[in-house]
């Protein structure tokens, strides 16, 4: 009888939004990241993206990252789910929970299908969030404008402006993370240049990391020197490792 009650054997609807297990993952993990990177000026982090319906490959990337001792945390570039189905978020969360290091998730366009965004908010948190790791401010944005109408500002310039004005003596540099980069099909391309202007206003902006297009691409998108690193999907078994140095940074495309 105990297993009968405790197991999630009843399914009310694929989009029911019934959540079992850990919620508010990003906020909980941000605390751990800030703590473990405190005072660091040099550290490594991994960036994975587009893990939708590639559970086996996600499982493998978790194992690959766990086999390294030098990664401080992992950022997921969005598209956790393929259909926005509630169970997909929980399956992916449960795989990512096996990481030895904390992780945070950005929102992708697939995560907005049906009740997906509601579930994302509950399981991971607000789609716009920022955190400090060592001397770097990571600004993670919802950039999937095609999924919303004008009642939701995507990208949210007020949020970016708050971050521009964010004053913390520990913060010396900024990195942006988002699912879609400017000029992708999902981005609000009317404000692409304004967005770039805001990004460049952030304290010592280093680079931007994105996903969505399912291939690795490194490009100076606006010809202004700011690099956009686009991460391959996990189905193609590639991810990034960025090494933050006191003076600059290095990146590695990992094929696993």
């Amino acid at each position: 009888m105990y297993t009968f009650v405790s197991c999630d054997i009843f399914d009310y609807h694929p989009y029911d939004g019934k959540i079992k297990g850990k919620t508010n993952v990003n906020a909980k993990n941000i605390e751990r990241i800030t703590e473990s990177c405190k005072g660091l000026k040099e550290f490594k982090f991994a960036f994975i993206s587009d893990t939708q319906r590639w559970y086996d490959e996600t499982e493998d990337v978790v194992k690959d990252i766990n086999s390294r001792q030098d990664i401080k945390f992992v950022i997921h570039g969005g598209d956790i789910s393929d259909f926005g189905v509630t169970k997909e978020f929980l399956w992916q969360r449960d795989i990512l929970e096996r990481l030895n290091v904390p992780y945070v998730c950005c929102i992708g366009n697939h995560d907005c299908i049906g009740t997906g965004e509601d579930v994302f908010q509950k399981v991971f948190g607000n789609p716009n969030f920022a955190f400090t790791a060592g001397n770097i401010r990571f600004i993670c944005l919802n950039t999937v404008a095609l999924e919303y109408d004008y009642s939701n500002p995507i990208p949210n310039f007020d949020f970016i402006e708050n971050e521009i004005n964010y004053s913390d003596s520990n913060v010396e540099k900024t990195i942006f993370c988002m699912h879609c980069r400017p000029y992708d099909d999902q981005f609000n391309n009317n404000v692409a240049k304004a967005f770039e202007h805001y990004v460049l206003s952030c304290k010592h902006i280093q680079f931007c990391i994105t996903g969505h297009i399912h291939r690795t691409e490194i490009i100076d998108l606006f010809g202004d020197g700011l690099m956009y690193y686009t991460c391959n999907c996990i189905g193609n078994r590639e991810y990034y490792i960025f090494t933050i140095k006191d003076n600059g940074y290095e990146y590695e495309v990992v094929d696993y």
């Binding site: 054997i9 399914d11 609807h13 694929p14 049906g114």
Partner: protein
Amino acid sequence: MRLLIINVIFLFFVGIGISFSQTLDSLDGDKVHKISYYENRIHKYREGWGNVIPTYFKAQFAGGMGVLSLGFGWDYGHHDQWETDLMFGYLPKFNTRKNKVTMTLKQNFIPWQKKIGKEYSYNPFICGLYLNTVFSDQFWVKEPDRYPKGYYGFSSKIRFHAFIGQRFTYNIRENKFKHWKDISFFYEISTCDLYVVSAFTNKDIRLKDILSLSLGVKFQIF
């Protein structure tokens, strides 16, 4: 809903057919007992509509169509081995923004029946398919126009489910308080298209992750 519409159209044409043949019959001139054209037409009309009166009601818990679904349906076939249900389900909002109502069109197949004494019977295997749709503006049948054609390539609003299960029936005796002909209790193990697609390409998603249980009761009227 579509079944009903087809039935109504069918009845309409049957009605026209009957009225035509009746005109021919009345020309023969049966003078002993003459049923008027109108009476006959109304009789056939009532009889036709009588065929679409649901023969049972059903209530089902879970099964991917809401927490609780209520509906009615029709059984047919030589051994009443086919059943078609139309159900409406209630889905509370849980962690989403709105409560929702769903609608299900369900086809059941009940190939075998075993009698246990006079009052009980048992169906060792039932199976079927159902289509579920959810009434909410968060979902679409076809992607809205703002997306490039075939952007997501599936419908978030319509789900296909398949199930297998078993059923146990209590045939109510005449001398007891009789409101229903019989009452059946059933359980079903089901899954839906999006779960199957997810499990199909991943070892990590097991059968137990995509199967779920639902419980139901059927009240047979006649």
